[in-house]
């Protein structure tokens, strides 16, 4: 006879079956039965007590992005669940597989505005790939199985399972379900049709100026090797999106860098001049395309994308292939003709030459620059760290100045641009990372959005090194004010605590650096210590991120770094 188990125990049984090793969460009234049952499963699952449920979702997200496994976050009903919304939306936009489990008031109380009741499936519906309210304990195990399956397959994304308290308490005879998952409306696509392949290959082989746009999908699909083979065979330049960084090593000669608003000028020129774009697992975000009407006007377009609704959403394409990227590239590669495309590369090298002349790292400056600090972090970690960046100027500088050789070594909130993502996401990622150092690169504004999680980092002895790039401003917003609002710096100067003393208050080491020559020696001190260490880099306040395509402008209408750099920087 099957064993009698409570819904709460079934939750943990299912998590164990899914291979979950760590859960990030915060207890509360409606989820208490499940937390009580955790005591029977502590040998199998480690629970990380966060300081805020948003932190829990970002940790699950960071863990998922670093490990390729599903991250799990847990919270109580009402405010616990609503605090997860930002984390869910972040994971949704960046296709990160997480499962959030929330307590709900008892089934009989639902709809009556009970204490800590919120319509959580209603609230989270637009920011989840799918969500469930489990009204019967008999459906609980199958629901959790489906949640994991949906989260990790197809285009991955967050799934929320809302479990009323009485369902957690209810007992049933339990046997872990083994029937195949049957979701009649859910069939992730697999491979390209022969017609699609032939159409794509014809365009690829006859293109003189092709560019591969490599997105997050390269890594989500595990298609790094296939992408490299594809590019090498046809000598096709590869540009990455922000989340695509790492899909091809930054040092690879065919990698021409990041595209878009703060992409390299040469890259954006190449996209605008191309006669063929091959978009691989990316979604033509507005930060990537600039003005749609003038985007890459001379090119035919091939779009390989697992989410059918992304094809022809923003950019009309000539060949759309709705399938798994790795599978499609394996189908395509044998048909790609070897070509050197020397003339095209000559053009690209000319554009690159011009960019080098404007390179900020070659400028002598009286103050430490954010770009210099980040470049030094790259050197000090041998370019081999797992970097979790936040949102703002430092995020773009990281993308420009930290070269990533391996996939899954840059985690950042791309689509939603969630300030406060980095610290909790790095804590989450550190539970997967056993070899690589985990570095947080974060601004003075961003860190203060989720700074509460410093306590979690200390409590868990999470091995994260936190580099705060402090310019005293909400720097990216200040940059927009300077460029587009006649330098009216309203509400962007931001007061910060003494971060070194704050680190001490949290009982973790903290250092301050304001000279370039001190960066690496201070990093060494941090690297020698286990557990979290905070370093504040005091940097030039008015530096800008260049190049910049103003929002809604043509992709090659870039504001470039002035040659005489400090001319535009008085004030």
């Amino acid at each position: 006879m099957a064993e009698l188990k409570t819904g709460a125990e079934i939750v943990w049984e299912c998590l164990v079956q899914e291979g979950v090793e760590v859960v990030f969460g915060y207890p509360g009234g409606a989820i208490l039965p499940t937390y009580d049952a955790l005591n029977k499963y502590r040998d199998k699952i480690h629970h990380v007590l966060t300081r805020h449920e948003q932190g829990a979702t970002h940790m699950a997200d960071g863990y998922a992005r670093a490990s390729g496994k599903v991250g799990v976050a847990m919270a109580t009903s009402g405010p616990g669940a609503t605090n997860m919304v930002t984390g869910l939306a972040t994971a949704m936009m960046d296709s990160s597989p997480i499962v959030c489990i929330t307590g709900q008031v008892a089934t009989g109380a639902i709809g009556g505005d009970a204490f800590q009741e919120t319509d959580v499936t209603g609230v989270t519906l637009p920011v989840t790939k799918h969500n469930y309210l489990v009204m019967e304990v008999a459906e609980l195990a199958q629901t959790i199985r489906e949640a994991f399956y949906i989260a990790r397959t197809g285009r991955p994304g967050p799934v929320l399972v809302d479990i009323p308290k009485d369902v957690q308490n209810a007992k049933i005879e339990f046997e872990y379900p083994t029937d195949p998952i049957n979701l009649p409306g859910y069939h992730p696509p697999e491979k390209a049709t022969d017609e699609e392949l032939a159409a794509a290959l014809e365009l690829i082989n006859k293109a003189d100026r092709p560019v591969i746009l490599a997105g997050h999908g390269v890594m989500m699909s595990g298609a790094m090797k296939e992408l490299r083979e594809f590019a090498e065979k046809g000598s096709i330049p590869v540009t990455t999106t922000l989340l695509g960084i790492g899909g091809l090593p930054d040092s690879h000669p065919l990698n021409i860098g990041m595209m878009g608003m703060h992409g390299l000028a040469c890259t954006n020129h190449a996209i605008q001049e191309a006669d063929l774009l091959i978009a691989c697992g990316m979604r033509f975000d507005d930060r990537v395309t600039g003005k749609l009407e003038t985007y890459s006007p001379k090119s035919k377009k091939i779009h390989i994308e697992i989410d059918a609704s992304e094809i022809n959403k923003n950019v009309k394409v000539d060949v759309g292939i709705n399938a798994d990227l790795g599978t499609v590239l394996r189908q395509i590669n044998p048909g790609v003709k070897a070509r050197n495309r020397a003339e095209w590369w000559g053009k690209i090298r000319d554009w690159q030459e011009d960019a080098n002349e404007r390179e900020i790292l070659q400028v002598e400056t009286p103050t430490l620059l954010g770009a210099q600090a980040i470049r030094a972090i790259w050197e000090g970690t041998d370019g081999n760290a797992l970097v979790v960046s936040d949102v703002g100027q430092h995020q773009m500088l990281e993308a420009q100045y930290y070269e990533h050789e391996e996939p899954f070594t840059l985690l950042t909130s791309g689509g939603l641009g969630t300030m406060g993502f980095s610290l909790p996401a790095a804590i989450g990622a550190s539970f997967n990372e056993k070899e690589r150092e985990v570095w947080v690169i974060v601004g003075d504004g961003s860190i203060q959005m989720t700074i509460t999680e410093l306590a979690t980092a200390v409590q868990e002895k999470a091995n994260v090194k936190i580099a705060i790039i402090n310019n005293g401003y909400l720097g990216m917003v200040r940059q927009w004010q300077q460029l587009f609002y006649e330098a009216r710096y309203g509400e962007t100067p931001i007061y910060s605590p003494d971060f070194v003393k704050l680190a001490e208050a949290y009982r973790m080491p903290g250092y301050r650096v304001d000279k370039l020559e001190d960066v690496i020696p201070t990093m060494r001190k941090a690297q020698e210590q286990d557990g979290p260490v905070l370093i504040e880099f005091v940097v030039e306040q008015h530096d800008m991120v260049y190049p910049m395509v103003p929002a809604g402008a043509d992709l090659d209408a870039m504001i470039r770094r002035p040659h005489a750099r400090f001319q535009n920087m008085e004030m």
Binding site: K129, L133, G185, A308, S309, I311, N312
Partner: protein, 176 residues
């Protein structure tokens, strides 16, 4: 331009909300939505009429619907031979002197009188939207008190296999 979609969805709580929420958050214009049980147990069928000018946006409505886990199948029947029907209940002022005239109008439109009161009639009319519009126009001078419309329902003509969902993949032996 109007676009008519026929969707098969799982008959589960909240599915209508998921579909409506999708249209709201993607800023798709929805003109009418009708839903009811289908011939398959556990499956409902929806007819959704949208009004989107832009080609690209029209194109992604169906794929976005299919992204919903509970949506099993979506057919764009806009350019296919279909029977499209709508039902309206129209309550009109009709005292003893007008009653006969309203009943004459109803007969011309093959509508039915389904309620008679001292000063009002309720007319039930079924047909394509144009017919209903026309009838409303004719009844208007009598004084319309209330109109209730179901929204369109659509069914492709002839033998179709609505499995792979694309209009191209559907056998078409119907005629208008």
């Amino acid at each position: 331009m109007k676009q008519t979609l026929v969707a098969q969805v799982e008959d589960k709580p909240g599915v209508l909300n998921r579909v409506a929420s999708l249209f709201r958050r993607r800023n798709f214009n929805i003109e009418s939505l009708a839903v009811g049980h289908s011939e398959i147990p556990g499956v409902s069928r929806m007819t959704i009429v949208t009004d989107e000018e832009e080609y690209l946006r029209r194109n992604v409505i169906r794929t976005n619907l299919l992204k919903l886990i509970n949506v099993i199948e979506v057919q764009d029947v806009t350019d296919m031979p279909c029977v499209i029907r709508e039902t309206a209940l129209i309550k009109v002022h009709a005292g003893s002197t007008e009653r006969g005239q309203v009943m004459d109008v109803a007969e011309m439109y093959r509508a039915r009188i389904v309620d008679v009161a001292t000063d009002t009639l309720i007319v039930e009319v079924t047909g394509e939207s144009e017919k209903i519009e026309a009838m409303i126009g004719v009844l208007d001078p009598f004084g319309i008190i209330e109109i209730m419309r179901t929204g369109k329902i659509a069914m492709t003509r002839g033998q179709v296999v609505p499995r792979n969902g694309s209009a191209a993949g559907v056998a078409n032996n119907g005629n208008k």
